[in-house]
Symmetry: C2
Subunit: 347 residues, 2 copies
Amino acid sequence: MDKREFYNNPHRRYNILTGEWVLVSPHRTKRPWQGKQEGHPVLDRPSYDANCYLCPGNQRASGKSNPKYEQVFSFVNDYSALLQDTPISTYQSRLLKAQAEKGICKVVCFSPDHSLTLPLMEVQDIEKIIEVWQQEYNTLGKEENISHVQIFENKGDIMGCSNPHPHGQIWAQSSIPQEVEKKTRQQQLYWEQNQKSLLADYLEQELESGERIILENEHFVALVPYWAVWPYEVMIVPKKHRRDILEMDNPEKKGFAEMIKKVTVRYDNLFETTFPYSSGIHQRPTDGREHREWHFHMSFYPPLLRSATVKKFMVGYEMFGNPQRDITAEYAADILRNLPDRHYSVK
Amino acid sequence: MDKREFYNNPHRRYNILTGEWVLVSPHRTKRPWQGKQEGHPVLDRPSYDANCYLCPGNQRASGKSNPKYEQVFSFVNDYSALLQDTPISTYQSRLLKAQAEKGICKVVCFSPDHSLTLPLMEVQDIEKIIEVWQQEYNTLGKEENISHVQIFENKGDIMGCSNPHPHGQIWAQSSIPQEVEKKTRQQQLYWEQNQKSLLADYLEQELESGERIILENEHFVALVPYWAVWPYEVMIVPKKHRRDILEMDNPEKKGFAEMIKKVTVRYDNLFETTFPYSSGIHQRPTDGREHREWHFHMSFYPPLLRSATVKKFMVGYEMFGNPQRDITAEYAADILRNLPDRHYSVK
Ligand SMILES: O=P(O)(O)O[C@H]1O[C@H](CO)[C@@H](O)[C@H](O)[C@H]1O
Ligand SMILES: O=P(O)(O)O[C@H]1O[C@H](CO)[C@@H](O)[C@H](O)[C@H]1O
């Protein structure tokens, strides 16, 4: 059977980074949809909102006030899920097993301007965000008992974002979270067998075929991974083997900022809306080990499937069986590749 | 540190069935919520809706017509994610790996009455649904190259349910889905070491402490598992070691139906709404192996956290790190245990 025919039939694909599978049902988008329609997000926001907890100078829900910040601004989350003073301990009683978890949660305001989002920012402003990510990764990672620093963004209210002011979060913690454990294990196995980074070899193969590539510049590639779960999932990967974001030099940092801008512009252009997603940077744990196997990357998990108001639901089968998707990675890459570089709102 | 204090601090809990962890942040429900509010579901539906694809006698989107069914009615999904005629084959090209997947997807209408949901049905009507699940599990499981039969329900539009007519689904397929693989591995390890079912020992421990038990009858226990991910997650487990739903005798089948009714009534009573969830039955694969380790159970994963309109979002941190929850399993069990047995709409 030829590859195209194979891809047109239901199949599972293997995720080399996690060792897990995704079920692909390419013929399934034809089904009618009588289900939930999401509301349209508000597109025109003012540059300053007096009721926003995150705008410069405003008071937050906790009573604290934001400085009149003019650049990127990061602070400890007033409602942190992890706390710095949690005593490290474990609990076990026969089949019940738990571990105390210590950590620090931060909020990173991307801009003082309430109305912006990453695709609407200038590349040099995104560079400033990357610099704060670097500082935070570096500082938090050096704290006692912090083995992992997770940088992420929830964008859009359908991704549980409770405030539209452009911001991301950082959760640093004492143990290595599960998804990162999986990726560490798989990359380590590959490193031991090949003395090469798994993602470097993967990139090589993807660049040869081109099928799933959206964009590339001198330093980075944006692609839909072969094992993508979310309809328009994208991964941004450095061409050189970099274990974490601190290992980038200045031109790389600029190339990374440019990629983030271009990917998020294409996202907004896809359904001509401010495109919701969760994004995250996976990089080497800060547990003091060398982690030569790690090759950092930034992933975007966007839920929209058919339009600005119809998303893919990861529910019944997906929760009890496997993640499942309705369009192929190749189809999604084709669509994203051919979208314009200019934001639809810019006349 | 005493157990209560330990549980009040952020901690991770181990899931004995999957070998994975959940992060628990018990102090976190205090944060303000300016985020998404879900719409209120429509509660008053007619018993028959001329526009419903699933009502008796109506035409479906595919053009086929439903019989004038009077009991539970199951049929092959017109938009199946898995197809019966997919040729079994594999694809590998260096780092890309895929397998064709064959399967059968069915829809199970729980009742001809468009207005009903499980909590509003009589116990004997739920028994009839269980009988259809048994027949389907038995028949589909015997098909050539069907190694697993997943029975599940998505309830409510926020769980991606595209039609409010009471119904569930069954996806039978050639490979064993990932979640089931994990549970098989963990139960098998335990069986080899102890010659006993993991869940039987777990139930014993839970019944001794009572902390997470919601309800029990002669044959079944309903509890919030120690490692629950969703705010009000519940697991219904048979007291006797049963590998699959075919191994129940008649009194057990009745006990199971009664438990499903009681759990879903409590769910509706929690926020006085028709409570959304995805539920699924995990049981032994139909791959022809004995699977003495398997102990079947039915789980409910409901998203609502604070009210009928505010759900828990599994987004950024949860996707890139670990599942995370804001209330403890003990707290959730306490609340559910103390809710009345009578549905709030019944005067
Ligand atoms: O089959 P339905 O009801 O159209 O679809 C629903 O359940 C499926 C199985 O969990 C999911 O894949 C879909 O995303 C969801 O909308
Ligand atoms: O921290 P926030 O923005 O209030 O909350 C959001 O992101 C968190 C981290 O992914 C999630 O745990 C919450 O469910 C979500 O609503």
